[in-house]
Symmetry: C2
Amino acid sequence: MRVGELSRRSGVSVASIKYYLREGLLPAGERTGPNQAAYGDDHLRRLRMIRALIDVGGLSVVATRDVLAAVDDPELPLFVALGRASGTTTAPEPSTDQDEAWEAAERALAAEVDARGWQVSDQNPAWATAVGVLATYARLGDEDLAGQLGLYMTTMEEVAEQEVAAVVDRGDRARTVEGVVVGTVLGDTLLGAVRRLAQQHQSLKLLGETPTHPRG
Amino acid sequence: MRVGELSRRSGVSVASIKYYLREGLLPAGERTGPNQAAYGDDHLRRLRMIRALIDVGGLSVVATRDVLAAVDDPELPLFVALGRASGTTTAPEPSTDQDEAWEAAERALAAEVDARGWQVSDQNPAWATAVGVLATYARLGDEDLAGQLGLYMTTMEEVAEQEVAAVVDRGDRARTVEGVVVGTVLGDTLLGAVRRLAQQHQSLKLLGETPTHPRG
């Protein structure tokens, strides 16, 4: 198909398609003339994935390019592809202010990780993010919030087991990596939204207040 | 204390403190002269909270001001304060592209919510966010990822119950609202980081690969 049809079928403007081609997010089409190229279903699929990662997952164009490079590299171990997707957090850079609160938080996290026998690297960007939040709770005097680390670890161990099993089962490596990438990035957004809905439900139950806009 | 000491003790620059005063995030100090004001421990505490919400939680200055206004309003029902904090998502605005995939996703979410007896409003911004992710999975042909909605709801129902109970127990209303706000916003970041660590652990276990940078 020509670029116009690719635009119509994907809902992405021709200008954006040309931008993704220039930035290397979308592979070039097959050249059919001096100013023309033909695109296939693979381009359509890739374009939908780009928009999902940017519009719904909140990734930057640069992060999206890095993650897609992992999808395209058949030699890359699945674990590294997952790591690449995991590195694409939309959370702010953690403070590297390694004071006493930071060191205590890192010891607390390491103790929980070791007690559960988790094999994780402290080079994983999520490590510093978790330590940063725990240190902030301590600086604010909110130690009871830090107490929720164990609850989060217990529930996420179960969630991650099912998430990883679901994508590993796909058989086809390219489809598995796509599932890893989409599931990691968009799953963050979905899980956060479900948490807010669950909090609304539980606070109504516990506080005995009524919703101002019930579903109807 | 003077603004210089407030800056030293909080680690926030005088320029930033003056910006927060102008923008209404930080209440004015007690005027002690034509160009001088005195600040107390409440200011120090508030300043730490502002930095936690902006630097660690990823909120904008405007969202931070809205959330702090909820903390400061003694008449506001706790449920509304929680809703205000819940509205401060760092996720991108969901697409309002209400095609067939969107409608099917909304029916799927409503069915799960009703089956569990959750009392939630479809005016909660998290509702549209969740529907947007589910619709994106469907458009990408990743229906097995959509199948994880039930898993997320089951685990978040338990997590939210303990989260809400932890802050409700504080007795003092101002401290409760502070806990709600900090726990909602920073809890997103912590939960996301723990999920990435759990995924690393589970993918090593399932794929039999070894971490490139084990903790040492």
